[in-house]
């Protein structure tokens, strides 16, 4: 069976500090990978998606970047965090031909102080 891991679960970081969130998927090959941010009242905002190693597409301009160094690893980074980066970050995967189902990780709650 497939599983998706995210860590850390909770993170409190000062403004201006760097960020690295990691997501790994087990039990599947060549998945599409996604990073979302969920803020209260704003739903799930797609930040990045990847259809393969090294292939990253950004949906919104922002202070964040993503990388996919391995087939089942997806990393969300920032060089300098802003207060507005606070939120609940969710990683998700789908099969390449997926039309309706995404599988979400447990999320990372980031608070920038």
């Amino acid at each position: 069976s497939q599983t998706i891991h995210q860590w850390p679960a909770t993170l409190v970081q000062p403004v201006g500090s760097p960020l690295s969130l990691e997501c790994t998927v087990e039990g599947t090959s060549n998945p599409n990978l996604y990073w979302y941010r969920q803020a209260a009242g704003r739903g799930l905002q797609l930040l990045f998606y990847s259809v393969g190693i090294g292939q990253i597409s950004s949906e919104v301009p922002q202070n964040l970047s993503a990388s996919r160094p391995q087939d089942r690893q997806f990393i969300l980074s920032s060089k300098k965090l802003l207060l507005s980066d606070s939120g609940f970050y969710l990683c998700a995967w789908s099969v390449q031909s997926g039309k309706y189902e995404q599988y979400f990780g447990p999320g990372t709650r980031l608070t920038v102080t």
Binding site: L46, V51, L90, G98, Y100, Q102, Y103, F104
Partner: protein, 115 residues
């Protein structure tokens, strides 16, 4: 105008009530319509999906799509306290740019079922 609109709630109902959750959308190109359930501090999980107008039933849950009105609904019969969660509608369409399906989520409706 947002592509997908969803009332954030919160919605409080007594145990056993029928719950109706709704979303409207503006893009007629959407092909698949989904409902996800998200418990507090967890990731969303897929409840149901459909791709055509009409009803689809799964146990106590019924998903309804009206493409002519651009309106989707999720009905929960005999609601239970364990149904207390945030329910997100979602829609997808094929993106030629990426060669994959693009997903758009509603903001979610918080539901509380009171025992």
């Amino acid at each position: 105008q947002k592509e997908v609109e969803q009332d954030p709630g919160p919605l409080s109902v007594p145990e056993g009530a029928i719950v109706s959750l709704n979303c409207t959308y503006s893009n007629s190109a959407f092909q698949y319509f989904m409902w996800y359930r998200q418990y507090s501090r967890k990731g969303p999980e897929l409840l149901m999906y459909t791709y055509s107008s009409g009803n689809k039933e799964d146990g106590r849950f019924t998903a309804q799509v009206d493409k002519s009105s651009k309106y989707i609904s999720l009905f929960i019969r005999d609601s239970q306290p364990s149904d207390s969660a945030t329910y997100l509608c979602a829609m997808s369409l094929f993106s030629p740019k990426s060669g994959t399906y693009k997903y758009i989520f509603g903001t979610g409706t918080r539901l509380k079922v009171l025992a």
